[in-house]
Amino acid sequence: MKELSLHILDIVQNSVKAKADKIDIIINENIKDNLLEITISDNGCGMSEDFLKTVKDPFSTTRTTRKVGMGISLFEAAAIQSGGHLDIKSKLGQGTTLYVCFMHNSIDRAPIGNMIDTMITIILSAPEIQYVYKHCKNEKEFVFDTDVIKQSLGDIPITTPEILEWIKGYMQEGLASL
């Protein structure tokens, strides 16, 4: 994938499929330690210990339309290629946390890319889920929480085009302030 934000979009789809109702995305850029960390956690159905052991293997998938599952193995390959690694913790019935890190300055690391379009896409894909996106850069942070937005919206759907446009502008400002 050309951007890390595309991997994030793909991994979040796993959480949506796992019937999560809250998904947290944390991006932590720590330039001083040359570290870029991404954590995606959900409260979905989780995985059994046995399945978890094999989940990074492309041949482990519960999908039925083809025999390989690529999302996690692609993300892991991207991490390893830029001096990092991927780690998954999961408990059946409780949820899953996927952690990936990269060397921030690695020339083999894809750029973070367009997180705004990733957030808009996941909001549209399952608007009922609460998404919390926190982006930390050195000492500063920006937090975007769809439940806070929904509280201000009352009964207007978050997927209304004008609202999505507003969210884009809001995130643009927030991310630019980092």
Binding site: M1, L6, L9, D10, Q13, K17, R63, T65, R66, G69, M70, G71, L74, N114, D117, T118, I120, T121, L124, S125, V148, I149, S152, L153, G154, I156, P157, T160, P161, E162, I163, L164, E165, W166, G169, Y170, E173
Partner: protein, 123 residues
């Protein structure tokens, strides 16, 4: 700086319109395949392009949604368009330029762009 107060103002402005827009089962649906292979092939910018066109042209009867695997990896990104009373049209190997044409010719003028459809590619 954008604030939640501003968002509430916007909500009040649009609440009237949205009420009218609700319950439109007869609308047009644009469905973008957003599984791993679709995303890798460029499905996200295709979806954003549809959203932008819908916003820009104020097409209030069009909804843009997503689905998982459509089952034709090598033809991704794939977009299906459902118009009321018409057969579904499947567009393949989509990109942003194709979106502009499909919106103008198919969604607005009701004439599918035959050369971008799955049928044209498989022949």
């Amino acid at each position: 700086m954008k604030s939640l107060a501003e968002l509430q103002q916007l909500r009040d402005q649009i609440s009237q319109q949205v009420v009218l827009r609700k319950d439109r089962e007869d609308g047009i649906r644009v469905v973008v395949g957003m599984a791993t292979c679709g995303i890798a092939a460029g499905a996200r910018p295709v979806m954003s392009a549809f959203l932008n066109e819908v916003s820009k042209r104020k097409l209030s009867d069009v909804t843009v949604t997503q689905t998982g695997c459509i089952g034709m990896c090598r033809l991704e990104p794939i977009v299906e368009i459902y118009m009321p009373g018409e057969e579904k049209v499947t567009y393949v190997k989509m990109n942003e330029e194709k979106v502009a044409r499909i919106v103008a010719e198919h969604i607005i003028n009701k004439k599918p762009v035959a050369e971008y459809t799955v049928g044209a590619v498989q022949e």
